[in-house]
Every structure is written in C-alpha cells, then in structure tokens.
Subunit: 436 residues, 2 copies
C-alpha cells in the first residue's frame, strides 16, 4: 500500500491542529456567509455575531440549512461573495421537481475543489502518468467537470468521454490504454458485460483503478466490479451542494471514506430530533463548507444517512471516515420508538448466501401493537430442508435484532414471490392504523 500523500501536512495533521484550522476557517466562513441575504437574516434572527463562534461546537447555535431553504431563496439568496465580479461557475442539481439547487463558485472555490479531487485520486494510487477516463455526464452535473479539473490538476492524461456510448468507452480504454476510470457502479458492470460480448476478457484491459460513486451500492457489488474487471474500486462521496466529487473518498484500505475535514465540518444528527449522535451511530450527515468563499453553506442537512467509523486509519490520514451511505433520511421509519433505515436490514440480509436480493418490510398493527415483518426471497442456493430453513430464519432474526434493536417477524418466501419493482425498489410498506 502506498503511503504517499498529495498534501502530507494537511492529510496527516494531528487532530488538534486540524480542529484549530477548522475553527479558524469556520469563523471566516460565518463572516463571509453573513454577506448573503439568507444567512444575514438567519444570523440576525438567532443573534449570531462573529463572536458567537468560540469553539467548534458553537456551530450548534446556528440553525440547519435545508434544501427547502435553498429553493425558497432560489437562485442566489445564499450567495455571499461578489458574484458579478468574482463568480466563475454555476452548478445546479437536476431539479426534477421545482427549482434546482444552485451553487455558485469563485475561482478560489474551483481551485480548492480541483485540489480536493486530486487529493482523492492521489490517495488511491493514481498518478500523473495514469490515463484517467471519465464516463460521467458533463455540464451542470458535477461528476463531469469535477473529476475533469481534479484529474488535470493531478496531471493525468484525461479522457473526457462523458456518459453513454459504451462501445466508444471500450474503444477508448483499449486504444488510449486507460488505467483509471470513473463510472457509476452499474455502468462499470455494464462495461464488463460489453467487453465480454465483444470477445475481450474484461480482466485483460489496462484498467487498474475504478472510482465509483453517485449511486447507492453495496460492498458486495464493489467486490463484484473488482473481480469482473480485475481492478481496485474505490468509493467516492460527493454532492452538488458541497461542490461535487472530492468531499470524501476511500483510501487504499477500503474501510470507510476519509472526509476532508480541512474543507468540511461534519456532524451526524438524529434526523427526528436534530440532536448530535455519538460516534459510530447512524444518522443524517450535516455538512458545513470551510473553504468556499462565494457561497458558503452552514449545517446543510444532506438527507444522507451514514455513521462516523470510530478509530484511526492505518493509512496515516487523520481525517475522519464515514461509512458508505446507508440510505436517505426520508426513508427512515420509526417503530417502537426506534429509528430504522431499510439499509440496516439489507446489510444483514446480504450476508446470507441462501437469500436473494429482493425483500420487503411491512409495518402492521396487531392487537394495538406495532409489528415489523421482513419478507425475504430465498436464492437458488437455499436448501429445501425445513430444519435448515428454520435455523437460517432464526439466525437472521437474531442478527436483525442486534442491528435494529427491534425483533422483527422474518418470513422466508419463494424466489419471485415478492413484487419486482421497476426503478427504485419500494422496501417499506406502512400499514399501521396510526402511522407514526
């Protein structure tokens, strides 16, 4: 494993140093944000002045910013800098419903962003001698220009292939001897299939490193991609509101994504109460930019669920690690007073080779009591032996209880008996009399 760093001093800074830098940057960020119409009002209503922030935890004095707030102040209500003179780029979310979320960047912001992406790519062993192909969509979607600028900053030979045209992607890989590829996980698998269809051994290409993100996936899928293409695949976490890619990224240990804490302040909260959760517990990720000048975002509720992985990483980087995204806080349900996310259930189920990938959680009221039923399809590997099946069922139940602290009723059902969903699977049906 490489222990080289893109910026050793920052990446391996002692926590005390890192937190000192965070506090300094947080103060600066609050000062800048006060110039935006939105935060000016928020700060005024909450009596936030530049003296309010003396320690990092003072950030809790400031209310959360939500996507709803951003939309209500569309397009430029959160812009703090001199956009007319210093703004150089706008990105926006797709905005499938209502106004899109808009982020404005200065040259400083674009440079800082490109540097973070370069830091991520360097961390997984990509060097200036690598050939980096980006199969992201370009334009307003940040996966395109974000990786483009970052990989160029690193000095890679970049191939801005953009999305689609799989045969051309493969032609580029073969002809230009691509060594590193950015792709969403399902597309990486698709490329492997097309290689096979074209009579090319997917493991025989020059590809060494895959960067995967922008789509929820399991570790099982990652291992499948690695095995299919004979590569190492690294998880990338980012979102338009936080620039795009370059926010958090796995190191070569592949054990959680390092969050660049010199540029982002990370909180994990209970999505119901808004309270901070202890390290290790799953909750909603709340982020504050620490190095964005044109449009700082403070305590932005990402709706993404994850947890901080406790302990130090052996790679030497001191920046905290988050677990892969466990779903959206909107998917959360509460039963018997416990917050539960479907991904917690899924995480247990995928560990059983006897099970297929289709499952359904149903919440019911039985004798005035909430009950949670987990139906899961058996795979082809499962035995027909009733005793075997009952042993598995009990095992699953016990493990689920350990994970979610509620004992569900587990039903093993025949393959193909649960509804197949087109697109995003519906995992939870709430049939309770009095839905909480």
């Amino acid at each position: 494993m490489s222990t080289e760093y893109w910026e050793e001093e920052i990446e391996t800074a002692p926590r005390s140093k890192l937190e000192e830098l965070q506090l300094q940057r947080l103060k600066k960020t609050i000062n800048l944000a006060a110039n935006s119409p939105y935060y000016k009002e928020v700060f005024s209503q909450n009596n936030i002045t530049k003296d309010s922030i003396q320690t990092l935890s003072d950030i809790r004095k400031i209310p959360f910013t939500t996507k709803v707030d951003m939309r209500a102040h569309y397009p430029f209500g959160l812009v703090a800098g001199d956009m007319r003179n210093d703004g150089v780029r706008i990105h926006s979310s797709s905005g499938t419903t209502g106004n899109p979320t808009v982020i404005v960047h200065s040259q400083h912001d674009i440079d800082s962003w490109a540097n973070l992406v370069a830091r991520c790519l360097y961390m997984v062993g990509i060097r200036k001698t690598d050939v980096f192909q980006n199969s992201s969509g370009y334009g307003m979607f940040t996966g395109g220009l974000g990786f483009q600028y970052g990989a160029e900053r690193l000095g890679c030979l970049t191939i801005p292939a953009a999305a689609g045209n799989s045969k051309r992607q493969i032609k580029f890989i073969n002809d230009f001897k691509t060594t590193a590829l950015h792709a969403i996980p399902s597309y990486a698998i698709r490329l492997a299939e097309i290689l096979q269809e074209e009579g090319i051994d997917p493991q025989s290409t020059t590809l060494k490193t895959l960067v995967i993100g922008a789509e929820p996936h399991t570790d099982e899928q990652r291992r499948k991609i690695e095995q299919l293409l004979g590569v190492k695949a690294y998880n990338s976490f980012g979102m338009t509101e936080m620039n795009g890619p370059g926010v958090a990224f796995e190191c070569q240990n592949q054990d959680g994504m390092h969050f660049w804490e010199d540029c982002y302040f990370v909180e994990i909260i209970d999505p119901e109460t808004g309270e901070q959760l202890p390290e290790g517990e799953i909750g909603e990720l709340v982020l504050t930019t620490l190095d964005r000048e044109m449009m700082p975002l403070i305590r932005y509720r990402t709706r993404d669920l994850t947890r901080i992985i406790p302990g130090k990483c052996s790679c030497g980087r001191t920046h905290l690690r988050i677990d892969r995204i466990q779903g959206r806080s909107d998917d959360m349900f509460i039963i018997k007073g416990v917050n539960i996310f479907p991904m917690q259930v899924e995480k247990i189920l995928v560990q059983f080779p006897q099970l297929g990938s289709n499952y359904l959680i149903t919440l019911e009221t039985v004798d005035n009591q909430d009950e949670m039923v987990v139906e899961v399809e058996l795979s082809n590997l499962s035995s027909d032996n009733y005793i075997d099946l009952e042993r598995i069922r009990k095992n699953i139940t016990r493990q689920l209880k350990d994970e979610i602290l509620v004992t569900p009723k587990v039903k093993l059902v025949k393959k193909g008996s649960l509804p197949e969903s087109e697109g995003k699977a519906v995992r939870v049906k709430d049939r309770r009399d009095n839905k909480s």
Copy 2:
C-alpha cells in the same frame, strides 16, 4: 465599438513583428514535431532539418498532413511530447467512419487554448461581469470544455448548460440572467421559437451577445438570429485538430474572422494542385499550429473552403481575417478548367428576394461541351410577369458569371419543384459523359 484588447501587444502587433514571432515559433514547432514518429519519417523522407526553415515560405518544403495521415497513425503517431508525463487531455473527433482523429494536449496547450478563447470572447465585448451560458455538448467535443475553460479564464460567470433540454436552457437564461450564449445557429433560432411558445418576448431577455459556430450558415441567418433575439451574433471558427474553438473569431465589425496568427500559420491553397492562392481567392484552408507542444500539426489540410479578406480591419487588430467557410473542398467541381464551389453560387442566389432557398446545379455534356445548369426555385415574393422574370434571370446569370467566371444556364422553377432533401442537401449532379 470597443477598442479594448485582451492582449493588445499581440493583437495589434505590426505585421513584421507578427511574422517574426511566427517564424520563431514555426522553427520551434518543427523541432518539436521531429520527435513524433510520423513527422520524424516525413522530415527524413523530405530532407527537412532544423535549418530548412529560414523564412515562413520555407514551410512549403514540408508536405501537407491530411486526415488520412492522422488516421493511419492512430492514435498517437503524431504525438511529439512526453505524453505519459506531460499529457493532460485527449480530444477526438466523432469518428463516424473509421478511427477518430485524436489530439493530445499538455498543460501548456490547454492554457494557450483557454487564453485564445478568452481573447475571442473579450474581442466581442464579453467581460468578466458577463454571464456566459454554453449550450455545446461537453466531453470529447471541443465546443464544451473549450468555451468552458476560455470563459472561466476571462472570469465570466459560466453556466455549463451543455446540449439539449431547451426549456432548461431558457430557465437558466431567465433565472441566471445570461448575457452571452454559445449556440449553434439553428439552435439559437430554436430557442427564440421556444421563448415565443412560452409567451416570452425573445428580445426581452438579458441576452446581449451570441457566439455562433460549428454549423455552416449564411449572413442572412446570422441577421435573423440577431433580429429574433435582439442580440449581436459573432461567428466562431474552430476544429478539434486545431484545439477547438478559439482559432478565428469575428471582431465587432462583423466583417470576417480574425485568425490568431501568433498561434496558427494560415495558407490558402488550390485543393486540386496544392498551390498557394493569391489573397482574396477562395481555396482550401491549410493550418499549422505554432503554439502547441504535445502534438504539433504542420500544414494540415482542413478541407474547409474560405478566402483571406484583403485589407486592414478598422478594429486595429493586425491578424488576417478569413471569410465565413464556403463549404468543403470535397464539394468542389471543375468545369471548363475552373474550380467552383456550390457556396459561390449560393452566395449570389441568396441576394435575390424573388428566389427561394432550394437550388440544384447540374453538369451536363451537350455537343461534347461541358455545360452548367443552375435551377433555382422562385419564392412567394416573385412576380408572374414574364418580362420581370426574364430580367431577374439575366441579372442572376451575369452575377454568377462575375463570381465563377463561367456562364451557366439559369432556370427559374416553381416553388416546390426541386427535390427536397432530408439532412445535407445535394446541390450538384454531375451527368457529364466524361466526369472531370
């Protein structure tokens, strides 16, 4: 009219200074190119050494480079620099048939390119306070990243809208107050139509400046775009082999496109003989890069037909101007020993409001003599009066003869009587016994 310059010293350099710089850069370019497998062989076969180039016209000692040569040495046979260490980006043509044309850039090349695009945009009055929206496709197509990097270099607030989704383009224009837009001409007209459909006066937007290119169009179409959208529209010339956009661009006089001669050496040749043509005559544009390090191209035959506009431009820039592209050299035909391009005929026809836009040139053999017949449809504006029509016909014939030096037989036909073509119009039918 603004007489400000992005780089005054270079843009207004006396010709002698400019040619001195060209010679110096040409020598450097030849030296660099000699490191590529392709040019190494070409130079060796033609006894070109670094002493061969003493004056600019010595460039004629070097053979032309064609698209066929580039394809034969696909992908990297023309790369002269240390691609592994210094290459940062690959662009390629779409390659609809066979291998695409590949261009590799170093960081220097990308910087030089971005600077040229910034110079173009600045020339037409675009400033850092402008909001620049790019409706080009991104990715391998150079209109996307080319304008992106150039507009950012200038300091504009860029909107990387990318191609398609017209309603979203219009939403961006309205919400982000776009002042400058890059679009292909037909798409600019389409956007005006959609604005109208949505009940928005197309002249009421914040748009001031349009950059149009990448698609052949007439001055009439440009004036239509200007009138429809209430903007100034400027022609842009570029091609992937010469980086992309930023090669030649109109100044605010809108009278020809200034070719950045500090970075490109321009020749106009007879596409049949390869001989230089005098200033003012239409021929094939042949280009040499003067500031590209990773992959210089020498005497590249673009297949584009144009002419150098004689005389000085009142904008103060000394760099030569080319006329709008008159078609492709592949479209040229020869009759009675004269090279003729369909665009020369079209240029005359569009001047008559009595004519429609559909025309057909037929070449025939009559009594062992080549004959050229021009059939053109009448428009709704034309009179039914035979005497009027005959007067127009004679007028057209005379003007065509002045332009092409051959007297064609002109036939005015009823609207709708010529075949309508889907896609690219077929303008020439060669029915001669012994096609030349």
